[in-house]
């Protein structure tokens, strides 16, 4: 009950007109920043720090503003995923898989509102998790050593098969390209630059955002250029907007999915080495394994939209656990928030909850407020968002190209990144032509580095003993799940497909 009292105190702190306005401003700006490719939550928060300082805000109001931006950007990332097939930020990548097909089937409004609701559920559950479990959850983070992290990343890659394509070999090929790209940069375990060709821009490796925007957004523009020179068939496709709200049946179908993935995403967020991208990815692939009996995932299944969105928003809440309780950022954005806390003379760490309860509980109350505000803000705006689809491609595509260039230049202010982005755009175009899925490429780039580092850390700590990898019950469990996740679809899938084929043959014979 003490917790609830503290929470009530938090609401007293957070519920002032100034703070509510700040939360509203933060949510609005965050949603827009999240939706723009290139501008993700971490940049969004970083951009607004000077605003918080200039306004002379105190600790709690600053945090309210910035966390609203954080949650807002996590919401906003899905919008461009669904409407344009261009992820607004890394974790929103998985939403493309089913969101864009839904939009093409004229269910964009449904996909947007469903993902909004899923985001709400994920964030809501995660915030409760943060309140009730933060001190205990820290212990979970401490169970994960390098060996366990390596097993976790292996699990992610083992369940990759068939997520994005029907052809497993192509998925594996794409993942291998991604892991290869992750090798670029200074190797932290030896301090030696790899594949940098003396180019100082490559020392830190390839920026995921540059890769994502290049692979998804620019290649989309190239495909458009290739197919629709002039305006011959640009207007050929009839755009249907369809209903704006999902039906009860769809919502009901998605509810178990949202609950399960919120939990998974939250856990992924709590682990400092994992983060929201892994959260949304594992959510999607687990859910596909669990409920995708008819093979509709990837073709516009509403559950495929709900799963990653609930997952990544829950992970955003989960990432606040290690940040507040350990002072260890679980994601790029929490690293920025951590810096803000430090510059406000608040030292996050094991004692934060007891030493500065007003900051912690004010922040948590703000999360609740932001979450409700985002839902209220997002649902009515869906009608406006979907109008994007009515913009003819010949106008939309140049805008996409422009936003991509400005967004990427804005991150680092260097034209080198633009060149890398164009290279990725061309590569993305080629890969699309070859029907190689793009999502595993990004996942490989995103997770490959962490996976390699953890493998080498684990091995070095145990002086070259490879059994270090299966030394704890936790890593054994993770390995078991990974191996089952990898083998089961191969074995069952064949049986299943044969049966499906048989039943289909029977059906067709009866109807004939």
């Amino acid at each position: 009950m003490e917790t609830l009292n503290s929470l009530a105190d938090g609401f007293v702190i957070a519920l002032t007109w100034q703070n509510l306005l700040l939360a509203l401003l933060g949510c609005f700006l965050g949603t827009i920043m999240g939706a723009l490719p290139g501008l993700g939550p971490s940049n969004g928060v970083a951009i607004l720090i000077p605003l918080a300082f200039t306004l002379g805000l105190g600790a709690t109001p600053s945090l309210i503003l910035l966390t609203s931006v954080y949650y807002g950007a996590m919401y906003g990332g899905r919008i461009s995923s669904i409407l344009l097939n261009i992820p607004g930020d890394e974790p929103a990548m998985m939403t493309c898989l089913d969101g864009y097909p839904m939009a093409q089937q004229g269910r964009a409004g449904e996909a947007l509102s469903l993902s909004g609701i899923a985001s709400f559920v994920g964030a809501f559950i995660a915030t409760w998790g943060l309140i009730l479990l933060a001190p205990q959850l820290v212990k979970i983070a401490l169970l994960f050593g390098p060996a366990e992290y390596f097993a976790l990343f292996t699990l992610a890659f083992a369940t990759l098969g068939g997520v994005a394509s029907t052809n497993q070999a192509k998925t594996a090929f794409a993942a291998a390209i991604g892991i290869g790209l992750a090798m670029v940069g200074v190797d932290t375990q030896t301090g030696v630059p790899r594949f940098t060709f003396g180019e100082v821009h490559l020392y830190d490796g390839i920026d995921f955002l540059v890769a994502i925007v290049g692979l998804f957004a620019l290649s989309e523009v190239f495909i458009f250029l290739e197919n629709k020179h002039g305006s011959s068939d640009a207007a050929g496709k009839k755009v249907v907007i369809g209903r704006l709200m999902p039906s009860w049946a769809v919502l009901k179908q998605c509810t178990p999915t949202m609950l399960r993935t919120s939990f998974l995403g939250f856990l992924a967020g709590v682990l400092p080495g994992a983060g929201a991208s892994l959260g949304s990815f594992i959510s999607y692939s687990m859910e596909k394994r669990l409920v995708d009996k008819e093979g509709t995932f990837g073709k516009g299944d509403p559950r495929g939209v709900a799963a990653p969105e609930a997952g990544n928003n829950a992970a955003a809440g989960g990432a606040l656990v290690p940040m507040l309780a350990l002072g260890v950022p679980g994601s790029g954005t929490t690293a920025v928030l951590l810096a803000v806390l430090l510059s406000l003379n608040i030292t996050p760490g094991p004692l934060l909850f007891s030493q500065q309860p007003d900051v912690v509980w004010g922040l948590i109350a703000a999360l609740f407020i932001a979450n409700f505000m985002l839902l209220a803000l997002n649902i009515p705006m869906i009608g406006i968002f979907t109008r994007v689809l009515l913009v003819p491609p010949r106008i939309l595509m140049p805008i996409v190209a422009m936003v991509s260039f400005v967004g990427i230049y804005g991150i680092s202010g260097s034209s080198f990144d633009l060149q890398v982005m164009i290279a990725f755009g061309v590569a993305g175009w080629v890969l699309r032509k070859l029907d190689v899925p793009l999502v595993p490429v990004i996942l490989g780039t995103l997770l490959g580095n962490a996976m390699e580092n953890n493998l080498r850390r684990a091995i070095t700590i145990d002086n070259g003993d490879w059994f270090a990898l299966i030394d704890s019950p936790l890593s054994l469990t993770l390995w078991a799940i990974a191996i089952t996740g990898f083998l089961l679809p191969i074995i069952i899938g064949k049986v299943f497909k044969r049966r499906m084929k048989m039943s289909r043959d029977q059906e067709s014979s009866t109807t004939d």
Binding site: T188, G349, L352
Partner: protein
């Protein structure tokens, strides 16, 4: 370029002549800008934002300091960009630290040397600490180093920088000072930042942690880890005074991660002097003393020429250690 410089000189001369008190501090940057050569959230970013905020609070600059994150190459991208594109910008300062000096010393900024920029001033130093988990049987630095000496494979030391980076060098400096011959045998595990390294110490994956005092502070307060040595010449002031130095345990090792700024190489002398005095004033203010205390920053009062010399000495020192341990040839 030459034209621009002479124009800047003329302008400066004109300004100097027009004002009766021709003090250098009269130069006021119109659009003060601070480049943080890393993504938001790191130490450089913190340095820029905190100093920018304090300068404005103290009225030393009129407008908000614009912080630009120019990440890449461990600061190399920003270093090259300043030299190649912004070399005569009078409103620009760039955050730097021991990590910058380490990379300059090891030639990790291809084609760039420390003489290509003007070193402005330090704003404090974060002394290195070596820590173990609270339940570790090890209680002193000498016990830890003895263990490493007897069986280097038995102790994994975790730190937040890459191999050859500053966190790594600090352990090696200590090991070297203790008489461990082949310091390359010391098992160092690189993590992504000090926070992750401490977490792994708590998780029991590694036996020791090397990092900055600010990274360890929260966990010392909570009683999760114990600091067995601070790599400072004397005991630190205030609440940090309870930590023993390496020196008093007979290990003559000092490692300070200083934080400071450099400015473009062709910044006008007036602007340079103005920035030096502004940061000096900031450093002397009570507000900054509070910030330093809250973040575990120890005093390091160096400005202008003194700072330039300090950086050049530390580059030379790091060069010789790196050569000794075989990181550079």
């Amino acid at each position: 370029m030459a034209f621009k410089i002479s124009r800047a000189f003329l302008a400066a001369a004109f300004l100097g002549a027009s004002a009766f008190t021709a003090s250098a501090a009269d130069y006021k940057p119109e659009n003060p800008e601070c480049i943080a050569p890393a993504n938001p959230g790191g130490g450089w970013d913190f340095t820029c934002r905190q100093v920018g905020k304090s300068l404005q609070d103290l009225g030393l600059i009129d407008t908000t300091m614009q912080v630009v994150n120019l990440a890449g190459g461990g600061g190399g991208v920003a270093y090259a960009a300043v030299i190649n594109k912004r070399n005569d910008d009078n409103d620009l300062i760039v955050a730097a630290s021991s990590a910058t000096a380490t990379r300059l010393a090891q030639g990790a900024f291809p084609g760039n040397t420390m003489d290509q920029v003007r070193w402005l001033a330090a704003v404090g130093a974060d002394y290195g600490v070596i820590a173990v988990a609270a339940d570790s049987p090890v209680n002193t630095l000498t016990e830890l180093l003895d263990q490493i000496k007897n069986d280097p494979t038995s102790v994994s030391v975790a730190g937040g920088s890459a191999v050859g980076g500053w966190d790594h060098l600090k352990v090696l400096i200590a090991a070297n000072a203790y008489g461990i011959e082949d310091v390359r045998k010391v098992k160092y595990i690189a993590f992504d930042g000090g926070g992750e390294a401490v977490t792994q110490l708590l998780a029991g994956s590694v036996q020791a942690f090397t990092g900055d005092i600010s990274e360890a502070k929260g966990f010392v307060d909570s009683g999760d880890i114990k600091v067995i040595a601070v790599l400072s010449p004397d005991r630190l002031p205030g609440e940090f005074s309870k930590f023993p130095t390496a020196k008093e345990q007979g290990v003559d090792a000092v490692g300070a991660n200083w934080r400071g700024f450099y400015a473009p190489g062709n910044m006008s002398d007036d602007a340079y002097e103005a920035w030096v005095s502004k940061i000096g004033e900031l450093y002397a203010s009570d507000q900054w003393k509070e910030t330093m205390a809250a973040n575990g920053l120890a005093p390091l009062d160096l400005q202008g020429a003194e700072f330039q010399e300090f950086v050049s000495n530390s580059v030379a020192q790091i060069q010789s250690i790196s050569r000794e341990i075989g990181i550079i040839k």
